[in-house]
C-alpha cells in the first residue's frame, strides 16, 4: 500500500493528540468541598467530635453481640456521619462553634499542608493481563474522600487523593510505596496483589527523618511481606501470624459460624468437596485453614482439589464425578465466582441434581455478575462479614457508601477500600480530639492505629481488632441466591450480623503441607 | 582412476524420479562437464554427491572410498567443495569475510602454516575480486557474487570441486577468464584436483572440459569428449527435439 506510511504518520499524530487531550489522572479527582474559613478565634476547643452520645441510635443499627463490644465504641468519636450541622441538632444549647477556625493550621507531616491531607490509593488497574481489575478501590477511596470533604473535611483540612496503579507488578507496587513515602500522609484502600517488598513502606522517614514507615490502611495483604508489615492495617483481615518465614507452621483463625449454622439448621451431615485456589502458594495457605476448620466443625470432605484460572469448565466434570461416587451434598469453593459458575454449569451439563447439593461460595460470589448467570446459580450460598449492600436503611455508613459510590452493587474491594478510609478517618479524628488538628503525624497515626482493638466501620462491618494481625472478624451474615437476588438467610433480621467467639476456630499447622496431603 | 565417482544413483522424490541410474566419474587433473536440459537432474546429482540429499539408491565414491553415508561436513573435510546454482553466498558478509569464514573453518586441516587473511586475499585475487574485498556480497552483482562463492570453495583447498553454473551472470570476458582460471588450477594441482562443471554456456563447456557427461530426465545419455558429444544424436534430440514445438523448430539445423 502506497499510502501506508502516511497512515502510520497519521496514526502517530492522532495518538499524540489523544494523549494530549487524555492526560493522566494522577491528581485528586474529587471536587473539594468548600472549606471553612480558617478561624482567627483563639478558641482552643478542638472537640470536633461532638457527640459522645450513643452512635448506635444515630446509626439506627443493632449489632447482635455476644462478645463485649469494646469501650472504644463509646470512646472513639465516630463522627464521619456527623456534619457540623449536626452539632446544632445534637446539642442545641451550644452556640455553633467552628473549632477549625480557632487554630492556625500547620504542615505537620509529609502529605499534610495547612489545608490538605493527601492520601494515596494504590490498586492493580492497568495490567495488560487484567485491565481495570481493581478500579473499584480507587473509586471507593475517591468516593470516600468526596464524602468526607463534603461533610467538612478531616482535621480541618480537605482530603486529596493521589492514585497509583500497581498494575499487578511487584516493582510498580514498590513504586507506589515510594511515592506514598514522598508525597502522601498515608496509604488508604491499597488493593495490590503483589506487594512483595515492603521495606520501603516500613522504613519511610517521616518529616523529622525518623524511619517509622507510612501508615497503610490496606484492603488486602496477600503475602507475608505485606501481611507482617508493622505499618499495615488490613480491613480484609488476613488473620495471619507474624513474623513468618514463608514456610512451616502458622497460626491462623478461620470462620466456621456459617457452616455451623447450616449444619444446625439445614443438614447436620455435610460431606463433599472444597475447591482450593492453587495458583499461588499464598492462595493455598490462606484457604487451607478454612478446610480444616470446617472439618473440625464436622464437615467431611471427600476431596480437596486445587483449581486454577486455567481450569476449563469441563474439567470440573471430574469433581462432579467424585460427588456422584460419594453421594456428596456439599460443594464449597474457596476460589472466585468463576469457579462456582463453572462448577454449577458443569453440574447442570452433567445432569447432576443441583437441589440435592448445598452450594457455597465465599464473599467473592457476591457480585452482580454472578447473579447474571441466571437460574444455574439459584440457591448458592455466599457469606460475608459486613451488612449486604441493600441494607442501606439499617446502617447510615452503608447508606453513605452506596450513595457516594454511585451504584447499588459495587465490587467488594470498593467496600473494603472505603472501610480503610473510615478507619483512617476515625484514627485521625481521635488524634485531633486529643492533640488538635496540628497533632497529626505519621507516628501519632501508627500509635493510634495500633491501639484500635475494635473497629466496625460504624456498625456496617463486624468488629475487628487492629492491634494484632492475627484475628478475623468473628461475625458473619449468610446469604443465598433466591429468585435471582441475594437474600439474607441468617441472621434473619436486616441490619444484623451473627457474631460470637464460637464462630472462630484457631489452628497452627504447616498449611502448605496440608494441601495435597 | 577417477577421483570422484557417482555410481548408479537413483533419486526419487515421491513419485518423481529425478535421477535414474545416473553414473558419473570425475578424473583428477582435468575438468569434467555435466550438461543437459533444465530439470535434467544436474543439481540434484550435485546435491547427492555433496551429501545434501540422500539418494534412494546408489553409491558415491571418493578416491575409491565409499562416502555415501558420510555427512556434508565430513565430505567437506575429505575435500569436496561446491558452488550453488541458486546463489548461496553469505550475503550479509563482505566478500573477504565470505572467504575468510571458509579459511577459518579449514585452517587447521588445510592451511596450517599460513595466516588466514593472507590465504583469503589470495583466493579473492585468484577470482579477480581483490578490489571489492570489503563490499557486502548482497550488494554485488550476481556474477561477482558467484565468483565469491568460487573463491570460498577454493578456500577449502578441495580435491574435488563441483561448480554449478559458474558462468551464469558473467559476461563473455569474465566467463573466459573463469575458464582460464580453471584450466590453470587443474594444471597447477595436477592429480590433486578434479573439477566437475555444470554449465549451459556451450562454448564455455566445450572449451574447458576434457570430458562431458550429458544428462536428460535423470539418465546419462552420453559420455565423451566435446566433439563426440556434440555429434551424438541422442544429445541433439534432447536439446532440440520435442513434439510440442516441432513446428517452431522446423527450420533449425537438425
Amino acid at each position: 500500500m502506497k499510502h501506508f506510511r502516511w497512515l502510520i504518520c497519521l496514526l502517530a499524530v492522532l495518538a499524540l493528540v489523544a494523549a494530549a487531550c487524555g492526560g493522566n489522572d494522577d491528581d485528586d479527582s474529587g471536587a473539594p468541598a468548600p472549606v471553612e474559613a480558617p478561624g482567627e478565634s483563639a478558641g482552643d476547643d478542638m472537640d470536633e467530635d461532638m457527640d459522645d452520645e450513643d452512635m448506635d441510635e444515630d446509626m439506627g443499627d443493632d449489632i447482635e453481640d455476644d462478645i463485649d463490644m469494646d469501650e472504644d465504641m463509646g470512646d472513639g468519636a465516630m463522627d464521619d456521619d456527623m456534619d457540623d450541622s449536626d452539632v446544632g441538632q445534637a446539642d442545641p444549647e451550644e452556640p455553633e462553634v467552628d473549632p477549625c477556625e480557632a487554630v492556625d493550621l500547620e504542615a505537620t507531616e509529609v502529605g499534610i499542608t495547612s489545608d490538605t491531607i493527601t492520601v494515596l490509593v494504590m490498586a492493580d488497574v492497568g495490567s495488560p493481563l487484567s485491565p481495570g481489575l481493581f478500579q473499584g478501590s480507587m473509586d471507593g477511596i475517591n468516593a470516600w474522600a468526596d464524602h468526607v470533604n463534603a461533610e467538612g473535611g478531616l482535621a480541618c483540612r480537605q482530603v486529596e487523593v493521589v492514585e497509583h496503579d500497581s498494575a499487578i507488578n511487584p516493582t510498580e507496587t514498590t513504586n507506589g510505596f515510594l511515592v506514598a513515602c514522598e508525597s502522601a500522609f498515608a496509604l488508604v484502600g491499597t488493593t495490590a496483589l503483589f506487594a512483595l517488598d515492603t521495606v520501603d513502606l516500613q522504613t519511610c522517614p517521616d518529616a523529622e527523618g525518623n524511619e517509622i514507615g507510612v501508615p497503610d490502611f490496606t484492603y488486602i495483604a496477600t503475602e507475608p511481606p505485606h501481611q507482617c508489615s508493622v505499618v499495615t492495617f488490613a480491613t480484609s483481615r488476613p488473620n495471619s501470624e507474624c513474623p513468618y518465614s514463608g514456610s512451616g507452621p502458622r497460626t491462623v483463625q478461620s470462620q466456621v459460624g456459617h457452616v455451623q449454622w447450616i449444619m444446625d439448621n439445614i443438614n447436620s451431615d455435610l460431606r463433599g468437596l472444597f475447591l482450593v485456589p492453587s495458583d499461588l502458594p499464598s492462595t493455598i495457605t490462606s484457604v487451607m485453614p478454612q478446610v480444616r476448620a470446617m472439618e473440625s466443625a464436622g464437615v467431611e470432605f471427600h476431596s480437596v482439589p486445587g483449581i486454577s484460572g486455567f481450569t476449563t469448565q469441563s474439567e470440573f466434570g471430574a469433581f462432579i464425578q467424585i460427588m456422584r461416587d460419594n453421594n456428596s451434598n456439599f460443594a464449597y469453593t474457596g476460589s472466585d465466582d468463576q469457579s462456582m459458575l463453572k462448577w454449577r454449569s458443569e453440574a447442570e451439563a452433567q445432569g447432576l441434581d443441583a437441589d440435592s447439593i448445598i452450594w457455597m461460595c465465599t464473599l467473592s460470589c457476591y457480585t452482580p455478575g454472578f447473579l447474571e448467570a441466571g437460574d444455574v446459580v439459584e440457591g448458592t450460598y455466599s457469606w460475608g462479614w459486613y451488612l449486604p449492600f441493600d441494607e442501606v436503611e439499617q446502617n447510615q455508613e452503608l447508606a453513605d457508601f452506596i450513595e457516594a459510590i454511585g451504584t447499588d452493587f459495587p465490587p467488594a474491594w470498593a467496600a473494603g477500600a472505603w472501610a480503610g478510609g473510615v478507619l483512617f478517618e476515625q484514627i485521625v479524628n481521635d488524634i485531633v480530639a486529643e492533640s488538635g488538628p496540628n497533632g497529626l503525624t505519621r507516628q501519632a497515626v501508627l500509635d493510634q492505629a495500633r491501639s484500635v482493638t475494635s473497629f466496625d466501620v460504624n456498625g456496617w462491618w463486624g468488629p475487628a481488632d487492629y492491634s494484632t494481625t492475627q484475628n478475623i472478624i468473628p461475625c458473619f451474615v449468610l446469604l443465598q441466591v433466591q429468585d435471582g437476588a441475594f437474600v439474607r438467610v441468617h441472621p434473619e433480621e436486616r441490619g444484623e450480623l451473627a457474631c460470637g467467639a464460637e464462630n472462630v476456630v484457631e489452628s497452627t499447622r504447616d498449611w502448605a503441607a496440608e494441601f495435597g496431603g | 582412476m577417477a577421483l570422484l565417482e557417482a555410481e548408479r544413483v537413483v533419486m526419487r522424490f515421491g513419485g518423481v524420479v529425478a535421477l535414474d541410474d545416473a553414473s558419473v566419474d570425475v578424473g583428477p587433473g582435468e575438468v569434467t562437464g555435466l550438461i543437459g536440459p533444465n530439470g535434467a537432474g544436474k543439481t540434484t546429482l550435485f546435491n547427492v554427491i555433496t551429501g545434501l540429499l540422500a539418494p534412494t539408491s546408489g553409491t558415491v565414491r571418493f578416491d575409491g572410498a565409499d562416502i555415501t553415508r558420510k555427512s556434508v561436513a565430513q565430505r567437506s573435510q575429505l575435500g569436496v567443495a561446491r558452488t550453488f546454482q541458486k546463489l548461496e553466498a553469505f550475503n550479509s558478509l563482505s566478500a573477504f569475510d565470505n572467504v575468510r569464514v571458509s579459511v577459518e573453518q579449514n585452517h587447521r586441516s588445510k592451511w596450517r602454516h599460513r595466516r588466514v587473511s593472507e590465504v583469503a586475499h589470495e583466493m579473492l585475487g585468484k577470482v579477480g575480486l581483490g578490489d571489492v574485498a570489503d563490499v557486502t556480497v548482497g550488494t554485488l552483482p550476481t556474477g561477482s557474487a558467484r565468483l565469491v562463492e568460487l573463491a570460498r570453495a577454493l578456500a577449502c583447498r578441495p580435491r574435488v570441486l563441483l561448480l554449478d553454473e559458474p558462468s551464469s551472470g558473467l559476461n563473455e570476458e569474465e566467463t573466459s577468464s573463469v575458464g582460464e582460471m580453471l584450466l590453470e588450477l587443474v594444471a597447477d594441482e595436477g592429480n590433486d584436483l578434479a573439477v566437475l562443471l555444470v554449465e549451459h554456456d556451450m562454448s564455455f563447456v566445450m572449451g574447458v572440459c576434457a570430458r562431458i557427461h550429458v544428462l536428460d530426465f535423470g539418465k546419462v545419455i552420453a559420455v565423451g569428449t566435446p566433439l563426440e558429444v556434440q555429434s551424438d544424436a541422442a544429445v541433439r534430440a534432447a536439446y532440440l527435439g520435442g513434439d510440442e514445438f516441432r513446428g517452431a523448430y522446423a527450420g533449425a539445423d537438425g
Binding site: 494523549a19 514463608g246 467424585i322 452433567q350 | 530439470g39 548461496e88 569464514v101 557486502t136 570460498r152
Partner: protein, 732 residues
C-alpha cells in the same frame, strides 16, 4: 522401523510410555475406577480435544496455504469471542446473527486486511521476521481487546447450543452443546482436508506456497489465493474462540494460552498433516481429562496436568525426522560496506553508557527547557527493573540478531539462573558466584537447543516456547526451586568487591556496568570468527555445511551463550525486588515483549545496545517527567508507547526485516512519507537483485503442465526439483 517409526523414535516413545505409567502409579488419586467415570472422563477429553483441534485446524490451514505460522491465531479467536459477547450478550443480538457477523464478516475481513497490509510483504522475509510479526499482531490484538473491554466485570459467553439437555449416559449426561461442538470440529477438519487435497482452490492454495511461480503459470492468481487463505484461517480462529470461550471464561490471557496447546497438536501433525493434528489434539484432551480424574500430583506439581501439551510438543520435536538444511534467503536492505564496531569503539561505548546512566540518574544533565533533577527511589526502582529486562534482552541479540534463531524462553533461562544463584550463594548474596551461574546455565541452553537444532527454525521456536511453558508449570512452582515468600527477601542483596549493593543507586550502577561489559563482549564476539560463523549459518545453512561448518553444533553453541547471558541477567532480575512470585515471575508473556523489542532493534550491536538501554533511561526520565514537569500528555504517550510500542515496532519490520531501528542507520528519510526519493533509491538498489515474479509479468494465458515443463527445459524458469524447505541430508 517399528509401527512406522524409526528405531530411536520408537525407543523414545517406549521410554515416554513407561515414564507415564510410572508417574501415573505414583500419583494415583485412589478414586474408584468405574465405567461411568471412565466414560464421562473420556467424553470430556474428546470434547476438550475437539476445541483444541479447531484451533489446530486453523493453524495447519494457514500454514499450508500461506507458509506462515500464525502466532496470532489465538488472539483472533479472543477478539472474536469478545466481539461476539458484545453483540449477543451486551447488545442483545440474536446468537446466530452475532455468530454470522463475527465469523462470517468480521473474521474474513480481518484476515484479508492482515494479508494485504502485512503478510504479503513477509513472503521473502526470514523466519524470524515472520514469526515476530505474527507475535506482534498477537500482542497488539490482545492489548486492543484489553483496552476496549476492561476487566472490572466478569463476562460469560453462553453456550451456543444450550447445556441443560443432552444424551443420557447413565446418571450423567452428555449435553447437546458438547456433542455438537465435537461433531462440528471434526466436520471442519474433514472439510478442510477435503478442501486442501481434493479441490482446485485447495490445491491452488497449497501450490502457491510450494511453488508460487509454477502456480502462477498454471493460472492461479497468487495474491487472491493468499488473501483467501488468510480469510479462511481467520474464520477458523474466530469460530474456535467463540466455541471455547464458554469453557474458559472470557479472559484474554487464559484464552490466548490455548494456542500453545494448538501448537502442540499441530506439531503432532508435523504442521501439515491435518488428521494427525486432530489426533494430537484429541490425545492431549484425553490425557488432560484422565490425569485430572485419576491422578493427584501434589502441591509441588499442581500445574503438571497443564504441562501435557508443552511436553507433547517437546516429544514431537525430538521424534521428528532429521533436519533439512535450509536454503539461504535474500537479505534485505544491506549496506554496501558493513562496518563493524571496533574493539576500542566498543570500549568507549561502554564508558559512554555508564557515564550517561550515572549523569542522568544523578541529575547532572539539564536539558534547558527542563531540568529533570536527580533520580529518587522510584525512578531507580523502575529503572532497575527495566535494566534487568534490558540485560535479558541483550542475551537475545546473538541469538536472534546474528544467528537468526528464535528463543521465546529468555525469562525461563533467566529464572534458571536466579535459581542456580540461590542454591550457590544461599543467604550470602556473594556476587562472585555470578559468573559461575552463567557457566551452569549454558548447558541448559544447549540441552534445549539440541533436539530442535536439527530441525527447521520454526520447530526450534516452538520448542523454546514449550520449554518456557513447561518451566513455568513444573519447575518454578516447585517449593525446592524457589522458597515460598516470607517476610525476608528470597534473594539477598548482592555483595561484591566489598560492597553490599543494598541501595538502589548502587545497584543501578552495578547493572549498568554489567550491561556495558556485556555490550563490549558482544562487540568483540561479533568481530571474531564465531560471529562470522554465526552470520554465515544465518545466511545459508546449506553453504555453511558444505564448507565444513557443523550447522547443528553452531546453533547449539549460540543457544548456550544466550542462556548463559540470560542466566546472569536473571540474577539481577530477581534481586531487583528480592522476592519473585513463582508463577508470574518468569512468565512466558513477559518474554514475548522482550523478544519483540530485540527483534525490532535488529542485528547491529551498538544499535541494539543503545535501544535496549534507552528503555530504562526513558522509564526513569518518564517518572521524573511526572514529578517535575507539567507534561501529562507525554506521560500518557509513554504509557501508550510501552503498551503498543513493541508491537508497532515489529510491524515496522515488515518494511525493513533487518530491524526497524536499523533503518535509522540510513537516516530517517526513508521513513518519512514525503521522502519518496529516498525510498526510490533503496528500491533501485534492491531491484538489481530482485527478479519480478512470473505472476507479475502480465502473462495472461495459463500454461498446461506439459507446456511448463517444455519451457523450463529450454529456459530454466523453475527451481530445480528440491523441496522448498531445503535439502534433506544424509546426516548432518
Amino acid at each position: 522401523m517399528i509401527l512406522g517409526l524409526r528405531l530411536p523414535v520408537a525407543l523414545a516413545a517406549l521410554a515416554a510410555a513407561v515414564a507415564a505409567v510410572v508417574i501415573a502409579v505414583f500419583n494415583w488419586k485412589g478414586a474408584p475406577v468405574t465405567g461411568q467415570t471412565f466414560l464421562v472422563t473420556t467424553y470430556i477429553g474428546l470434547f476438550l480435544g475437539a476445541l483444541w483441534a479447531m484451533y489446530a485446524t486453523g493453524l495447519v490451514v494457514v500454514y499450508t496455504t500461506t507458509g506462515v505460522f500464525n502466532f496470532a491465531q489465538g488472539a483472533i479467536g479472543v477478539f472474536a469471542a469478545f466481539l461476539y459477547w458484545e453483540l449477543h450478550v451486551n447488545r442483545g443480538w440474536h446468537s446466530v446473527l452475532a455468530l454470522v457477523v463475527v465469523v462470517g464478516m468480521f473474521a474474513p475481513t480481518l484476515g484479508v486486511l492482515l494479508d494485504i497490509v502485512i503478510m504479503r510483504r513477509l513472503r521473502t522475509a526470514s523466519l524470524v521476521v515472520q514469526l515476530m510479526v505474527t507475535v506482534a499482531i498477537m500482542v497488539l490484538l490482545l492489548s486492543v481487546v484489553g483496552d476496549i473491554w476492561e476487566a472490572d466485570t466478569a463476562r460469560r459467553v453462553p453456550y451456543l447450543f444450550g447445556i441443560e439437555n443432552g444424551i443420557d449416559l447413565g446418571p450423567s449426561q452428555l449435553p447437546w452443546h458438547r456433542l455438537i461442538v465435537f461433531l462440528v470440529a471434526v466436520a471442519i477438519a474433514v472439510a478442510m482436508r477435503y478442501l486442501l487435497r481434493r479441490t482446485r482452490i485447495g490445491t491452488a492454495m497449497r501450490a502457491v506456497v510450494d511453488n508460487r511461480e509454477l502456480a502462477a503459470l498454471n493460472g492461479a492468481r497468487p495474491n487472491v489465493v493468499s488473501s483467501t487463505s488468510w480469510a479462511l484461517g481467520s474464520m477458523l480462529g474466530a469460530l474456535g474462540g467463540i466455541l471455547i470461550a464458554p469453557e474458559l471464561g472470557l479472559d484474554p490471557a487464559t484464552l490466548n494460552n490455548v494456542v500453545i496447546i494448538a501448537f502442540a497438536a499441530a506439531a503432532f501433525g508435523a504442521l501439515r498433516n491435518l488428521p494427525m493434528a486432530v489426533v494430537g489434539a484429541m490425545l492431549i484432551g484425553l490425557l488432560r481429562a484422565h490425569t485430572g480424574a485419576w491422578l493427584d500430583f501434589g502441591p509441588d506439581y499442581r500445574f503438571a496436568h497443564l504441562a501435557i501439551a508443552p511436553l507433547l510438543l517437546l516429544f514431537v520435536v525430538i521424534a521428528l525426522p532429521q533436519a533439512r538444511l535450509e536454503v539461504g534467503r535474500l537479505a534485505h536492505n544491506l549496506r554496501r560496506h558493513e562496518r563493524f564496531t571496533k574493539w576500542w569503539e566498543g570500549l568507549i561505548g561502554c564508558g559512554v553508557i555508564i557515564l550517561v546512566a550515572v549523569a542522568l540518574s544523578g541529575g547532572w544533565l539539564d536539558f534547558g527547557v527542563w531540568d529533570p533533577g536527580a533520580w529518587g527511589s522510584r525512578e531507580l526502582n523502575s529503572a532497575n527493573e527495566a535494566m534487568a529486562l534490558a540485560l535479558i534482552g541483550l542475551s537475545l541479540v546473538p541469538l536472534i540478531g546474528w544467528a537468526g534463531q528464535i528463543n521465546f524462553a529468555p525469562l525461563a533461562f533467566a529464572g534458571f539462573g536466579a535459581f542456580v544463584y540461590l542454591k550457590l550463594a544461599g543467604d550470602t548474596g556473594n556476587g562472585y558466584w555470578i559468573p559461575l551461574v552463567g557457566l551452569l546455565c549454558a548447558p541448559l541452553g544447549a540441552l534445549v537447543a539440541l533436539p530442535a537444532a536439527r530441525l527447521r527454525g520454526l520447530y526450534l521456536a516452538l520448542m523454546t516456547m514449550a520449554f518456557a511453558q513447561a518451566m513455568s508449570l513444573i519447575f518454578f512452582p516447585h517449593s525446592w526451586v524457589l522458597p515460598t515468600i516470607g517476610v525476608g527477601r528470597q534473594f539477598p542483596h548482592i555483595e561484591m568487591f566489598g560492597v553490599t549493593f543494598d541501595d538502589r543507586r548502587g545497584f543501578f550502577l552495578l547493572i549498568v556496568s554489567v550491561f556495558a561489559v556485556f555490550v563490549f563482549g558482544l562487540v568483540l564476539l561479533r568481530r571474531s570468527r564465531y560471529g562470522r560463523r554465526w552470520m554465515a549459518v544465518n545466511d545459508s545453512q546449506a553453504a555453511s555445511a558444505t564448507l565444513g561448518i557443523p550447522v547443528v553444533w553452531t546453533k547449539v553453541v549460540v543457544y548456550a551463550l544466550s542462556a548463559a547471558m540470560a542466566g546472569i541477567a536473571g540474577v539481577f532480575w530477581a534481586t531487583v525486588s528480592g522476592n519473585v512470585d513463582s508463577v508470574q515471575g518468569f512468565d512466558l508473556l513477559i518474554g514475548f515483549n522482550i523478544v519483540l523489542l530485540v527483534a525490532a532493534a535488529g542485528v547491529s550491536i551498538p544499535v541494539a545496545g543503545i535501544f535496549l538501554i534507552f528503555i530504562p533511561l526513558f522509564t526513569g526520565l518518564g517518572h521524573r517527567l511526572e514529578d517535575t514537569g507539567n507534561v501529562d500528555f507525554l506521560v500518557t504517550l509513554l504509557d501508550i508507547t510501552t503498551t503498543y510500542g513493541p508491537g508497532m515496532l515489529v510491524l515496522g519490520m515488515v518494511f525493513n526485516p533487518r530491524g526497524a531501528i536499523f533503518e535509522m542507520g540510513r537516516g530517517f528519510s526513508p521513513m518519512l512519507p514525503w521522502r519518496g526519493d529516498a525510498r526510490a533509491e533503496i528500491a533501485a538498489e534492491n531491484a538489481q537483485k530482485r527478479e519480478p515474479e512470473i505472476g507479475e509479468l502480465g502473462i495472461e494465458r495459463p500454461f498446461t503442465p506439459e507446456e511448463v515443463v517444455a519451457l523450463d527445459r529450454r529456459l530454466g524458469i523453475l527451481d530445480d526439483v528440491v523441496p522448498k524447505e531445503g535439502y534433506g541430508a544424509a546426516r548432518s
